[in-house]
């Protein structure tokens, strides 16, 4: 999902003056499903993804610049299908069995126009997969005032997805052709606190409508695996507050972010992210980071259902389950000049683990499909 980001530091916004190009390769690997959580001895390998990211930007004239982002990723592996009870009534996972092979291409173009105390951004793009076509557009702006110590930002965005699931002949419960849309709006307020600290708080609202179920998942209801079925609208809200503080004596900067989320599927979540950017030498920077996440369950979620619900909505998708997750990462960045060009290299690793025990609330039955993963990235930036 490409993102037209929130505004930058107040007063630091200006058009870029150099052409630059970035490339990043990432390798994502989910942990194999534990045999004690599997319903059968079939394929327990989870997803692995290889992602190529390309970004380029260039000045257009004194007050404008443009950028383009391209992502190409290939995915393979088995995915959770539905959940059944074992002999003791504990949930165990039925996997899709066959390995899924797919690829996705995402393109996003952005143009920015700069004024004396303001900036406007316009973006448009698309995402293309074998079974999903998505187009999106957005408009955002920010205005600096109070001697550039305060910035007010806002924006709107729209996305439309067309979904045509594969293998509908073999799996007749899958819909043949569906669509969904999302409209997003955000407001942000940013304040420089001191010469070394700044804070930003933002509210984001998104309205989703259309086919919001997962066409590839089923759910066990009264002993029968039926199609995943969710409401056809979803209103989401997120409150994100971010703080940056540079410690001169240490030569490092603290990043602290907190996000609260809620929606009308009765889900709430809390996310806390901390990172420390430490200069080691003039050309090397190390960034250790930590993230904690906890979410409650959707109102219509259950690993399985003994009885029919009056609204007909059911899902055993682990992404709608109650759980918590922790991740830790380390990133190293090096910069050097060669052949009149400026190079920047990045090597990063992240480990993410999730489970019912990490949730803020008590989880009675943990979903067996919860995911843990490794993420390794290698990047190169060239400034001309």
């Amino acid at each position: 999902m490409a993102v037209l980001a929130l505004p930058g530091i107040a007063g630091a916004d200006s058009p870029i003056t150099q052409i630059s190009a970035d490339y990043n390769f990432s390798w994502y690997q989910e942990d194999k499903l534990d045999s004690s959580k599997a319903a059968d001895s079939g394929n327990r390998d989870r997803f692995k993804v290889q992602m190529h990211q390309f970004h380029a930007e260039a000045p257009v004239f004194d007050r404008a610049d443009v950028g383009i982002d391209v992502i190409y990723e290939t995915m393979s592996g088995a995915t959770p299908w539905y959940v059944v009870p074992d002999a003791d009534g504990d949930p165990i996972q039925v996997m899709t069995g066959a390995t899924v092979e797919d690829s996705r291409t995402d393109v996003l173009a952005t143009g920015r126009l700069y004024f004396d105390d303001a900036r406007a951004s316009l973006s448009g793009g698309g995402s293309f997969e074998k079974d999903t076509l998505s187009v999106n557009g957005g408009l955002s702006s920010e205005h600096h005032f109070n001697d550039n110590n305060t910035t007010l930002g806002g924006g709107v965005g729209f996305a439309y997805d067309r979904i045509e699931p594969v293998d509908t002949d073999r799996f007749p419960l899958r819909p043949k052709d569906e669509n969904r849309s999302a409209t997003t709006a955000f407001l942000s307020l940013e304040q420089v606190l001191t010469a070394t600290s700044v804070i930003q708080s933002s509210l984001t609202y998104r309205h989703n409508r259309g086919f919001l179920s997962d066409p590839y998942k089923r759910v066990l209801v009264a002993g029968d695996p039926i199609a995943d079925s969710r409401p056809d609208s979803r209103n989401q809200g997120a409150w994100l507050t971010r703080y940056r503080h540079h410690f001169k004596a240490l030569g490092g900067s603290l990043h602290a972010d907190y996000r609260f989320f809620l929606d009308d599927w009765e889900m709430t979540s809390h996310t806390l992210e901390l990172a420390w950017y430490q200069d080691v030498w003039r050309t090397l920077q190390l960034v250790p980071s930590f993230r904690y996440y906890s979410q409650s369950q959707a109102e219509f979620y259950g690993p399985f259902f003994a009885n029919m619900r009056s609204d007909g909505h059911y899902s055993s998708d682990y992404r709608l389950a109650p759980y918590g997750a922790m991740s830790a990462g380390l990133k190293a960045t090096g910069e050097f000049d060669l052949w009149s060009l400026h190079f920047r290299t990045v090597l990063a690793y992240e480990r993410y683990i999730s489970g019912g025990d990490y949730a803020l609330g008590k989880v009675d039955l943990e979903n067996p499909g919860l995911v843990s993963y490794h993420l390794i990235s290698l990047g190169l930036t060239i400034r001309f």
Binding site: M1, A2, V3, L6, P7, G8, I9, A10, G11, A12, D69, D102, L108, G126, S127, E129, S134, N136, G138, N148, N149, V156, G157, A159, D161, R180, T184, A185, Q191, A195, T196, S201, S202, T204, R206, A238, W239, R242, R244, H246, G252, R259, F261, E266, Y277, Q285, Q295, Q297, G302, F304, A306, R319, L320, P322, K331, V346, A348, L360, G361, S377
Partner: protein, 87 residues
């Protein structure tokens, strides 16, 4: 067979009211400190790359894509972009 639940500490409606109240308090705080001005020549540290909200935009895009695919929450980092079959 039962539907498991987390033990809610608060209801979503109560939480929303608390969030709104906290936000108003935060905006009031920001407005009050807004009177203390940092001059342009004092902004050297604020202009550092590691003081940006997203020092590495490709990393931000990658992480938000993974989290969007594996978690139920909205990113909150902007207006979002294209969807995908991953969620």
């Amino acid at each position: 067979m039962t539907t498991p639940v987390t033990t809610p500490v608060t209801t979503p409606k109560t939480t929303a009211v608390r969030i709104a109240a906290t936000l108003v308090a935060l905006i009031t705080l920001l407005a009050s400190v807004g009177c203390a001005s940092v001059k342009p020549w004092e902004r050297g540290y604020l202009g550092r790359t590691d003081m940006a909200w997203n020092p590495d935009p490709l990393e931000t895009t990658r992480k938000e894509h993974v989290q969007f695919s594996k978690e139920a929450s909205l990113g909150g980092g902007g207006i979002g972009g294209g969807g995908c079959g991953c969620n």
